[in-house]
């Protein structure tokens, strides 16, 4: 039982990270119909920024906030300077640009901070936080922080005029212009927010996976899977998808361990959990191509 709860908790913590990166992907997807392959590397770069700030003497949370703000600016700048001129370019050119960005951020981080794996601190108190034997302090902290960030984002999109304008611009850019929304800036803002959410994910996961330029590779894969399972056009679905994939992969490993323990036959373990999780994702998508929560837009003509 205790092992089950531990696996569940670790699934929740991983899921929270996947949820953030998946949400970042979906935020850009809904307004541009593009998948930003560089999302993970941007998050990694943001994490290095926070590490650098800490090594210059900032406290964890101050570095966290400054890095998130810098990431926002980085996202806005990338949209304005690199993607804006390409807004009518064919999809394939954009894919090349995204992959180029991925490579640039990766090698830039390597050049500045080297490819040596670094330890990354956890800001959460070792004692008096978490529930002994069930969820560790860092895991609980990750879940709490990401839930707060997701809640803030949800409130922003749901209740503020700017959030409404961003949703309108994503849904029908031409009509949004006709009610005075500056659609180009909404896209840039979307990029900024996506980069910020990615930064939160990177900073939260770095203590678990350690800091190195390739830290987000696997996570981006999980985030894609999460976004697709939840429904690539549905932000809430992507978040749910993140938690589903996170819990699922750990449950798969847990089940494998149990089987090995009772029967002595090794079928699956930690090593195979990504494979099995992705198989389940593919299965879900064959049954529900729009994803579990993919919204079928009701439209009467």
């Amino acid at each position: 039982m205790e092992q089950f709860l531990q696996q569940l908790a670790s699934g929740l913590a991983n899921g929270a990270i996947y949820a953030c990166v998946a949400l970042a992907l979906v935020m850009i997807y809904v307004s541009t119909a593009h998948i930003n392959f560089a999302q993970g590397e941007m998050a990694m770069f943001s994490t290095y920024l926070s590490w650098q700030l800490m090594s210059w003497g900032m406290s964890f949370w101050l570095a966290f906030i400054v890095a998130v703000v810098l990431s926002f600016l980085m996202g806005v700048l990338i949209e304005r300077l690199i993607l804006r001129p390409l807004h009518s370019a064919p999809v394939l050119s954009l894919i090349v640009v995204f992959i180029g960005l991925l490579a640039i951020f990766n090698s830039l981080a390597g050049a500045i901070w080297s490819y040596l794996i670094k330890e990354y601190p956890s800001p959460f108190p070792k004692t008096s936080f978490g529930i002994a034997g069930v969820i560790g302090p860092h895991q609980l902290g990750v879940v709490v922080v990401t839930l707060i960030v997701l809640g803030l984002l949800f409130a922003f999109f749901r209740y503020t005029p700017l959030g409404l304008a961003m949703r309108a611009a994503a849904q029908n850019p031409q009509m949004a212009r006709l009610v005075g929304v500056r659609v180009d800036w909404m896209l840039a803002l979307g990029w900024g927010l996506a980069a910020s959410v990615g930064a939160v994910a990177g900073i939260m996961v770095a203590h678990i996976v350690y800091l190195d330029p390739n830290m987000m590779g696997g996570i981006l894969l999980y985030a894609f899977a999460s976004a697709l399972v939840g429904g690539i056009s549905n932000p809430a679905g992507a978040v749910a998808g993140g938690f589903i994939v996170g819990i699922l992969e750990n449950m798969v490993a847990f089940a494998g361990n149990q089987i090995e323990k009772t029967t002595g036959i090794y079928i699956i373990g930690n090593g195979e959990k990504l494979t099995v999780a992705l198989i389940i994702v593919i299965f879900v998508l064959t049954v529900k191509p729009a994803g579990l929560f993919g919204r079928v837009v009701v439209k009467r003509v």
Binding site: P161, L164, Q171, M175, R177, L178, G180, V181, R295
Partner: protein, 237 residues
């Protein structure tokens, strides 16, 4: 009196294709003007050219000010409200959000709510569906929503692109009655593009007839309506 909107020698292009050659007209403050013509005459393009949604050349002057180089979202800020072809519903947003988006630059919440009340007085049907997803409204309701949203901009000029399109005759009559009220009570000038010439000429006080990107005829609605030649050659009824 100076014209509210003055268009002269307007040309418009879709890529390499030129679709307006020489369109010129004037709209007086408080008036209702209609642009008539067959399919492909350039009516919709003219509206889009005013709002800078297509590449264009020529003079477009609003309230004495040249707006030719203004991007669409700035033109709207001059309180020119464009109700586009196909209604431009934000289908995944609620009716309430569809209306509030038109007031998003305004910080004064009380004023926005007052505006909403006023808009609902024209369209009580929308008030009943205020939390409904806009994509689930009927065609007539979506057209009402589009006009209501334009009203939320506090417009001085409303550009209407075929408000009767695809709607039942009774609904069309209702919508045109509301347009008349909006023109009279809100002092909104209207530029109306319509296929249904008879209907448009009843509402408008001035009419221009377009053919393949040129203005071929203009005059007071009453005159255009009673001219058998125009009716037969251009309006087809």
């Amino acid at each position: 009196m100076a014209a509210l909107l003055e268009v002269k020698g307007l040309k418009a292009f879709y890529g390499q294709t030129q679709s307006l050659y020489d369109v010129g007209f004037e709209i007086e403050t408080g008036g209702i003007t209609t642009l008539l013509g067959a399919n492909g005459a350039g009516k919709t393009t003219t509206l889009r050219a005013i709002c800078n949604m297509v590449r264009r050349e020529g003079l477009v002057r609003f309230d004495g000010k040249d707006i030719k180089n203004m991007p669409t979202e700035e033109v709207v800020r001059l309180r020119i409200a464009h109700v586009p072809e196909g209604r431009g519903t934000f289908t995944t947003l609620t009716v309430d959000e569809n209306l509030r988006i038109a007031a998003y630059t305004r910080r004064d919440k009380v004023a926005v709510n007052r505006e909403l009340e006023r808009v609902f007085s024209y369209f009580p049907r929308l008030q009943e569906r205020v939390q409904q997803q806009a994509g689930t409204l009927s065609g007539g309701e979506q057209q009402m929503l589009a006009i209501a949203r334009a009203l939320m901009l506090g417009p001085r000029l409303m550009l209407l692109d075929e408000p009767s399109f695809g709607l039942a005759p009774l609904i069309v009559v209702e919508i045109f009655r509301i347009l008349r009220r909006i023109n009279e009570e809100e002092k909104v000038s209207i530029l109306l593009v319509e296929q249904n010439a008879a209907l448009a000429l009843d509402l408008a006080d001035h009419a221009y007839v377009l053919e393949t990107g040129h203005v071929v005829m203009s005059g007071p609605s009453a005159v255009v309506k009673n001219d058998e030649n125009i009716r037969k050659s251009y309006l087809g009824y």
